[in-house]
């Protein structure tokens, strides 16, 4: 660069030098021509001009050479500079190279480190992958185990537990039940549950037994009180009759309550009648057990009777229905009971004039008296105990009970007593027994009784609900049927004997004669 700058200044200096040399030659020529004699002037001038020319040429040559030297020097400087630059560049390049080498080494080291890391990572990855595989295998195994467990649990829930609970409910002991389920996966669980269920079952059974026993005692008390009250009602006059009847009524209601508890706890019913009970007595027996019996009107012309073993149940069920009917109709409203003899049995209809059951209650009532087994948990507050009792009795005796809205505005309950529970007394017994025809029943009654069924061994067979004497029909039946007219006849004879010593006819006189005697 410096050479390039110096170059343009060198040329003018050279030119100036050349010019000055030319001028100096010219001056020397002029001076030499002027100084030299005129003869010699032409030679001197010629020589001077030649010298000047040589001088000029030398000067020009010097100038040119100098210019060339200058250029060379510039070129040299440039070359030096280039060399320096190259050197510097080389130095830089060397340092760069060294740096690059070191960098390369460093990067190689890093690469090595990275490689080792990558290697380590790969190993880890492999390890992790193997772990994953293991874990997956474990998970699969666990899942299989869980599936097994679930299947086992499902079997436990669907088969084993219901079976165990069912057998425990049926009264088997825990050990007996669990014998079949030894060595099963959930034996401990099963044992724990079985113990709890058995404990609960024992508690329930104990509570039921206590209730049943208590109810039985109250029933027995009520029965004996009834007998004593009846005896007192006979013994005392009418001045205490009202009080006795009230006591009788209260006792009957208490007895019904005890009967209800006995029915719900599965105990035996309170009484067993040994003879068929006439429908009228059934109705009145039911009537006597409710509070508002005076609001019930009976409409029955039926002469049928209900078999003795079922009579108590029918009366009790009917009493509960009547109690419902009177409770759900306002006090002045009457409850009407109708009896109808059908081919399929005896239909007793209870109609009240109350508000009537709602659709929901109607369905609930239907369900309560349907054939479903009694569930004690359904006896929560708000459910009518009476309908549960009716349901239990209906199941026991095969009564069918249905509810319908009554045409009188309330509810009508229809109870069908199946034919096999209904006895139809012989027409002779139902016919009016006239005292004037007194010998006739004695003769006809045994004949009217059907010949008793005979077993294979030749012994008379007793029908259900009948006593043996009623079945044989020879001893007790005539005494029961015809004994009373006999007694009346004796009293008639006694009275006539009292009234006069005149001849007493062996049989009571016809009615037309007696007023004469009295007048």
């Amino acid at each position: 660069m410096t050479a390039r700058l110096r170059r343009p200044t060198g040329a003018p200096v050279g030119l100036l030098c050349a010019l000055a040399a030319v001028l100096a030659g010219a001056g020397a020529v002029v001076a030499a021509r002027a100084a030299a004699p005129s003869a010699e002037r032409s030679v001197v001038a010629l020589w001077a001009s030649a010298a000047a020319l040589a001088w000029c040429a030398a000067v020009v040559a010097a100038v040119v050479l100098r210019g060339r030297v200058g250029r060379l020097r510039v070129q040299l400087a440039e070359g030096q500079a280039r060399v320096e630059a190259a050197h510097a560049a080389a130095l830089r390049a060397g340092t760069d190279t060294a740096a690059a080498v070191s960098e390369a080494q460093a990067s190689r080291a890093r690469a090595n480190a990275a490689r080792t890391e990558a290697e380590a990572a790969r190993i880890e990855l492999l390890a992790a992958r193997s772990e994953t595989v293991e874990a997956r295998a474990e998970a699969a195994a666990a899942r299989a185990a869980a599936d097994d467990e679930r299947a086992e649990l499902a079997r436990l829930a669907e088969q084993t537990i219901p079976q165990v609970v069912g057998r425990l409910r049926a009264g088997a002991s825990v050990d007996t039940v669990l014998v079949e389920h030894r060595q099963t996966a959930h034996e401990d669980l099963l044992r724990l549950m079985a113990r709890e269920v058995a404990y609960g079952e024992r508690q329930r059974a104990a509570a039921l037994a206590v209730c049943a026993t208590a109810a039985g005692r109250v029933q027995a008390l009520a029965t004996s009180m009834h007998a004593e009250l009846r005896e007192m009602e006979h013994r005392h006059g009418e001045e205490v009759l009202g009080d006795l009847l009230r006591l009788d009524h209260s006792t009957a209601q208490a007895g019904r309550m005890a009967d209800s508890i006995a029915v719900l706890t599965g105990a035996r019913s309170g009484r067993r009648w040994t003879k068929p009970i006439a429908v009228e007595s059934i109705l009145r027996g039911a009537l006597g057990r409710i509070g508002a019996y005076q609001r019930v009107r009976l409409h029955s012309a039926s002469t049928a009777a209900v078999a003795g073993y079922a009579a108590e149940g029918v009366m009790h069920a009917l009493a509960e229905l009547l109690d419902n009917a009177t409770n759900f109709s306002a006090p002045p409203a009457e409850v009407h009971v109708y009896v109808e003899e059908l081919h399929s049995g005896l239909v007793i209809t209870v109609e009240d004039g109350g508000l009537g059951l709602s659709e929901v209650w109607l369905r609930r009532a239907e369900r309560a008296v349907s054939g479903e087994a009694l569930d004690l948990t359904a006896l929560s507050a708000g459910t009518r105990l009476g309908l549960a009792v009716v349901g239990a009795l209906a199941r026991k005796h095969g009564l069918s009970i249905s509810f319908r809205p009554s045409s009188r505005g309330g509810t009508g309950v229809v109870m069908l007593i199946p034919e096999q529970l209904v006895a139809h007394p012989e027409p002779a017994a139902a016919q009016p027994v006239r005292v004037t025809a007194r010998p006739a029943p004695a003769a006809t009654a045994p004949q009217s009784v059907p010949p008793p069924p005979i077993t294979d061994g030749g012994l008379p067979k007793r029908r259900r609900g009948q006593t043996m004497s009623a079945a044989t029909g020879s001893v007790a039946a005539p005494a029961a049927k015809t004994g009373r007219p006999e007694t009346a006849g004796r009293f008639g004879a006694f009275r006539q004997a009292v009234q006069g010593p005149q001849s007493v006819p062996p049989h009571p006189a016809p009615p037309a004669d007696l007023p004469k005697d009295n007048s």
Binding site: E228, Q294, V498, P515
Partner: protein, 121 residues
């Protein structure tokens, strides 16, 4: 009355208050134990069975106490039932206490013999 001495057995399901419909007082002065009852009507179907039995029994004159014995009911209850029938006009009642005084009463020996005869039965 006739049941005194029998064991206190309650072999009838219908209670007496259902027989009388809850009443315990007979109409006053209508009957005493020896009033004779005569039925004036046949029993009707659908009638209370005691009423029907009374009507059948009293087809010839019968004393109240006899009716009670026959029905196995206390006299006071029978009086209530007879009161119903009397009100409905189905029976008539005659009072033997209006028997004329000159009617001869049997002597005491006769009564004793009758009593012995009864006890032997």
């Amino acid at each position: 009355m006739t049941r005194v001495g029998q064991p206190a057995r309650d072999d009838d399901p219908d209670r007496l208050y259902t027989v009388t419909g809850g009443r315990s007082q007979a109409p006053q002065h209508a009957f005493d134990v020896v009033t004779l009852i005569v039925s004036e009507d046949e029993p009707q179907p659908g009638m209370q069975s005691e009423h029907a039995r009374i009507l059948r029994l009293c087809a010839r004159p019968t004393a109240v106490v006899e009716v009670a014995a026959e029905l196995g009911l206390p006299v006071s209850v029978v009086k209530i039932l007879l009161g119903d029938l009397l009100e409905a006009g189905r029976i008539t009642a005659r009072h033997p206490r209006f028997v004329p005084a000159q009617a001869k009463l049997p002597d005491l020996d006769m009564l004793k013999q009758v009593l012995h005869g009864l006890q032997k039965l």
